[in-house]
């Protein structure tokens, strides 16, 4: 209701610009703090100079992009989507099409159109194009899907994911079917991923305080009241869907560049559930929650993996048996959710203590 009230408020003073900037000023601390947090992690990584650690942090940044992308739609609309990893898949394959060496492409993916076979772009250009491609797909799917709401919408997005996966796992000449597409240039430097994550966070923030984002959150909390005050719910949802589709596409492209190989099954149920879990454990309704969820669960997974590999304590080596890592992760997730059903952050955002009163 608070959001609905602030929407009504912002509508009343729509002509006076300062109201908008006041909102921006009041909330800007959140994305800045989150970005600084990520920057600190990146700096520590660079200073340690360890390669496996570098790769781990790159994975974390990619997941930050994906979970922030999920938050833009799920957090603001309250509709659980299982389909967003589909856009990641589209983005990753688009990046593969645009960056693989033309010679190799002709051999492995002969079904691509001639102009695409001949192009080869640097990775950052391809990432932007991949994001646009995913956004276009989100626009097309969203036109149809956003008329649904609640659990029907969740299932429909799920059907969309399954459709994308089926098509990409069978279209031999364009996607290489289920075999992996290799030859994507690998980027091992951490900065592009950091920039991607920061851009995603700022996009999420800008969307959340935009008129459309406020209207959408009003509709999430009080659908009837919001519709009565003139919010076109399907339209606002579509806006969020397209924006989040673009971020997911960007994440997909960067993910492709971080591992160098794409297969359709990389972008299916496993990734869907791990990213959703991160969002829900962190707190579905909060941007900080998404980022905190990623950092926490990633750290946990890493720590458990490390224990599984074996740690020497004095004389003896202590190692967990295989499979304990996943079991422990599941148990810890259940415990967190049982203690804090709305996630670690709830609906709150990360800010400095003094300004939290304004939220």
């Amino acid at each position: 209701m608070a959001v609905a009230a602030s929407l009504a408020n912002s509508a009343a003073v729509a002509e006076r610009k300062p109201a908008r900037f006041a909102l921006a000023r009041r909330t800007i601390l959140t994305p800045v703090l989150l970005s600084l947090l990520l920057l600190a992690i990146a700096l520590i990584t660079v200073m340690t100079g360890s390669r496996p650690f570098n790769q781990t942090v790159i994975d974390v940044f990619v997941r930050v992009i994906l979970v922030v992308g999920l938050y833009i739609f799920i957090g603001n609309s309250g509709v659980l989507s299982f389909g967003h990893i589909g856009f990641t898949c589209l983005g990753a394959y688009a990046a593969a099409w645009l960056t693989i060496n033309p010679m190799m492409k002709r051999g492995s993916l002969p079904g691509l159109p001639e102009w695409l076979l001949a192009t080869r772009l640097p990775y950052w250009q391809s990432a932007v194009l991949a994001a646009l491609f995913a956004a276009l797909a989100a626009l097309i799917f969203g036109r149809v899907l956003m008329r649904l709401s609640g659990i029907a919408a969740s299932i429909a997005t799920f059907a969309m994911l399954a459709m994308i996966n089926t098509i990409y796992s069978n279209w031999e000449s364009v996607t290489g079917a289920t075999s992996s597409v290799v030859g994507i240039p690998i980027v091992r430097v951490i900065w592009p991923y950091l920039i991607g994550a920061v851009v995603a966070i700022f996009i999420a923030w800008a969307h959340a305080i935009s008129r459309s984002g406020l209207a959408l959150r009003a509709a999430r909390d009080e659908p009837t009241a919001a519709a009565a005050s003139g919010v076109d719910i399907p339209r606002e949802r579509l806006v969020a869907f397209v924006v989040s589709g673009a971020v997911m596409g960007l994440g997909g492209a960067l993910m492709a560049h971080s591992i160098g190989v794409v297969t359709p099954d990389t972008f299916y149920l496993g990734l869907t559930f791990i990213t959703l879990s991160m969002l829900v454990v962190g707190g579905m309704g909060s941007l900080s929650g998404g980022v905190v969820g990623v950092l926490l669960l990633s750290a946990l997974i890493q720590a458990l993996r490390w224990l599984e590999a074996g740690v020497s304590l004095g004389e003896s080596t202590f190692a967990l048996p295989k499979g304990v890592q996943e079991i422990a992760l599941g148990v810890i997730m259940i415990v967190i959710l049982a203690l804090r059903p709305s996630g670690l952050m709830g609906n709150r955002e990360l800010t400095l203590p003094r300004s939290s009163r304004n939220k």
């Binding site: 659980l80 149809v144 899907l145 008329r147 649904l148 709401s149 609640g150 659990i151 029907a152 299932i155 429909a156 799920f158 059907a159 969309m160 399954a162 459709m163 089926t166 098509i167 069978n170 009837t224 149920l269 559930f273 959703l276 879990s277 829900v280 454990v281 579905m284 048996p321 295989k322 499979g323 304990v324 996943e326 079991i327 992760l329 599941g330 148990v331 997730m333 259940i334 959710l337 049982a338 059903p341 709305s342 996630g343």
Partner: protein, 301 residues
């Protein structure tokens, strides 16, 4: 032609049983149970002795069928009730998304527990081998198993209907599905009904496990997932919380898959599932509340 009909019916049976297991639990506690597929996998592996060897050591699978079937059904019901007591009881007040993720995490735990005991390699087992002989009906050769699948599903469905319509417990369960807080005020004991629903749903999962295990002859930790997805979709298309709708939609999905397999041109056949999922989206667009909308799931303003 008859072959197609039977294929559709037996595939639909599996989906319908799965959808029913999910709909039962959704009805009483608004939980979309993602762990259901892993309960199915657990029931199948209950037939084996834990070992990570490639060779399956058959344990309970050697029992004669009249002991085997109750054993597996009990396993399913037991595990399902255990999940309720240990995990889901703490999530009664949580919002659906939290419950869904919790059930997913639980499924994850069950799956990796199995993986730890049995390793991830698929194992072959000949479960009730006498059922794979073909029989001839009206000029079509059908595996006996397919026939038994259909008959067993019919028996289960009729039995469940009688149970829900004729017994006091069934009445309580239907009342709880329709309006849980009202039912509680009228003296329905919440814990009993919810545990009953979990037990029934676990037993249904076990039935699927038996049929599926006998059909494919291989045991795989992932095997629950594929049925689970279709069952999950069937539950929604049928109208969440509506048991009849879930069964109907399960059979429709089975029929749609089989018919598309036959009717689509050869080039498009690998994309069959994409067409099925497209059809799902279409159905949802025209009837977002499902084919048979359940009473009491509509939000009140």
């Amino acid at each position: 032609m008859l072959q197609i009909l039977f294929d559709a019916l037996s595939l639909g049976s599996l989906y319908a049983l799965g959808a029913l297991g999910i709909a039962l639990i959704f009805g009483v506690m608004r939980l979309v149970n993602f762990a259901h597929g892993d309960v199915i996998a657990f029931c199948v592996f209950a037939l084996l002795w834990p070992s990570t060897d490639a060779m399956a050591i058959v344990f309970a699978g050697q029992l004669p069928w009249y002991l085997l079937v109750p054993f597996v059904l009990l396993c399913g019901a037991g595990l399902s009730v255990l999940c309720e007591i240990v995990v889901f009881r703490r999530f009664r007040q949580a919002n659906p998304a939290t419950m869904m993720i919790a059930s997913f995490a639980l499924g994850f735990v069950i799956r990796y527990f199995l993986l730890m005991l049995f390793s991830s390699r698929p194992k072959s087992i000949s479960l009730l081998p006498e059922l794979s002989q073909p029989v001839e009906i009206l000029g079509a050769r059908l595996p006996l198993l397919q026939l038994i699948t259909i008959v067993a599903t019919m028996v289960i469905l009729i039995g469940l209907t009688l149970f829900l319509r004729q017994t006091r417990f069934g009445l309580e369960m239907r009342a709880a599905a329709e309006n849980f807080s009202m039912a509680r005020m009228l003296g329905v004991r919440a814990n009993r009904v919810i545990m009953g629903a979990f037990a029934l749903s676990g037993a249904l999962a076990a039935a699927i496990a038996l049929i599926f295990g006998a059909q494919t002859g291989t045991l795989d930790i992932q095997m629950g997932a594929s049925i689970m997805l279709m069952a999950f979709i069937a539950t929604v298309i049928g109208g969440l919380g509506s048991l009849g709708g879930a069964v109907l939609a399960g059979f429709l999905l089975g029929a749609a898959s089989v018919i598309m397999q036959v009717m689509l041109p050869i080039d498009a056949r690998p994309f069959r599932d994409a067409f099925v999922y497209g059809a799902v989206i279409l159905v949802l667009l025209f009837r977002p509340q499902g084919l048979i909308a359940a009473r009491g799931t509509k939000e009140r303003v």
